[in-house]
Amino acid sequence: MPIYDQSYRPYRGHLSSHAMRWWTITRTGLMHLFSKKIFLVLITMTFFYPVVAGFQIYFVHQFPEQNLVTINAEFFRMTMEIQLLWFLVLGIYPGTGLISNDLRWNAIQLYLSKPLTKLDYIAGKLAIIGIFLLGVSLVPGLLLFGLQLGFSSDTKFLTSFWWIPFSVIGYSVSASFAWGMIVLALSSLSKNSRYVGILLIALVFASGGMALFFWGITDAEGVIIISVIDELKQLSYLFFGGQGAFGNHGFAAAITLVFLMGVCAATLRRRVRAVEVVK
């Protein structure tokens, strides 16, 4: 046929398997974020403390007689705890917009009308924030451990603290997953990402305030796990040992977080839907 029909034709090409469908959502989300300058600035800032910690390790090895700081499990745990600040910041941006923007612009209908399950959608969105949370916890943790190893002249450090990388991985994965779920669930509660931001800050401070209040009344350290941020802090004691101002309630914190995950999962299942039920 000399004249070709340039208009619509059916698609006879290849279709990928369903397993990696969530990755498409993650990848698009990441690409979109990386195109924003403010985000790149933010990411750069998250390396601030790890770089400082790196220099601490360097100085300890350069000037051992100064006894500047001890590189032990607590050092790594402390790094994880300090980076929790970025958990909060990343939770607000890009966290709050993850699902709320889609709700606002009716995009959920578009997603769910494709061959995607709700789980694909949620997993894809979780991975967006999850990757960054891991980036501020897992990556610096392992890099610092590697740095310490690199500077060590003997195997003393390795024999005592060989388990630290596993703890770093274990902690960062669980904390990232937990916090990611919380942020995602909150993001699904409103069409307005600003309200979600307020909700998130309110949750952190209100739970913190309540925990201190109950501690004042009961004088029992354990109540600190009412505070969400403290749950994450206490979780670090579970993986790294030691204890903080309120003792070591890592296990209890872990159980609370698991329970909280259940609530988040249920919320997400309810809120991510293509139909709006109007009473």
């Binding site: 619509y8 290849h14 279709l15 995009a107 769910l112 061959p115 293509a274």
Partner: protein, 303 residues
């Protein structure tokens, strides 16, 4: 039938959104009609797998919807009525994304996105963010993203909303092209019955959750024999008097039309004769076909 629903019921408290609805959607373009609240949107959502019916079965292209929702959605394209887009993307990115979400590799998705956007007549604007688009452009993007993965059926919900007269004609032409020449089945949900008459070959009519009429438009709108509709220029009294004098009868319709009921055996020449005798100018003459609106009103039980 490309889509079949049998005894679908969905109940919210005491209100039945769908009440044992049974219908078959034929090949080509099918109009889905019904008053507000009749269950049209609910039915679409059942077919898309967004809602689970309390009872009954639904199958699309032979696949059962509750059992194989992903396969069904692979074969369907959906153009929602409401404004919807993925924030931060332009038309090309959105359509590419839509294709990738259906499993297309990225390079293929980009190509198909451009093709679909050309087909939907969205030109250079495709490189601007969708937030900046006019209503008409947003409609075109919604259509393009539904077509990217080459579905065998597309569900179009009020596709001509907000389009100016030229845009409406383009959209209807596109629907006709898809269903008549490109082998894509179309389910057109619309309140503008003229659009449905123009673009569809059959209809499914819902009312109060039940299917009240279905079938080919030609069947439903058969011309009534010996009944003609006439429009005249100027005063119609001389004409109507001549009609009566010839032994036929007439009655006024809306829009200045006159319905003339001829005697057996007489054809349209009786009308020309009446016009000639009375010196009237006939400007419009045709057999009386019920409009889809008449069929609709009768089916829904309203006069």
């Amino acid at each position: 039938m490309v889509i079949e629903v049998r005894d679908i019921t969905i109940q919210y408290g005491r209100h039945k959104a769908l009440d044992a609805a049974t219908a078959g959607f034929a090949e080509g373009a099918v109009g889905l009609l019904g008053p507000n609240g009749a269950g049209k949107t609910t039915l679409l959502k059942v077919l898309l797998g967004f809602l689970r019916p309390d009872s009954g079965s639904a199958s699309v292209l032979g696949m059962s919807v509750p059992e194989r929702p992903l396969d069904v959605r692979q074969a369907i394209g959906y153009m929602p009525e409401v404004d919807c887009h993925i924030p931060g993307l332009n038309a090309v990115q959105l359509c590419t994304y839509a294709g990738e979400l259906c499993g297309m590799p990225r390079t293929e998705a980009i190509q198909r996105a451009h093709e679909a956007l050309y087909y939907a007549s969205l030109g250079e604007a495709r490189y601007r963010p969708v937030e900046t688009y006019s209503t008409g452009m947003k409609q075109r993007v919604k259509l393009a993203q539904a077509l990217v993965h080459g579905p065998r059926i597309v569900f179009l919900d009020e596709p001509t909303n907000g389009l100016d007269p030229k845009g409406r004609i383009e959209m209807l032409d596109l629907i006709k092209d898809l269903s008549r020449r490109k082998g894509v089945n179309v389910v057109l949900s619309s309140h503008i019955l003229r659009d449905v008459e123009e673009a569809c070959s059959s209809v499914v009519m819902l009312s109060k959750g039940k299917v009240v009429r279905q079938g080919s438009i030609a069947e439903l709108m058969k011309a009534v024999p010996d009944l003609y509709e006439v429009r005249l220029k100027g005063d119609s009294d001389p004409f109507t008097e001549a009609v009566v004098a010839a032994g036929a009868s007439w009655k006024p319709l809306q829009d200045g039309l006159i319905e003339v009921s001829l005697l057996n055996g007489h054809g349209s020449e009786a009308i020309f004769r009446a016009a000639s005798v009375s010196g009237s100018q006939v400007r419009h003459l045709s057999r009386r076909f019920p409009s889809l609106e008449d069929v609709f009103a009768r089916a829904v039980g309203v006069e």
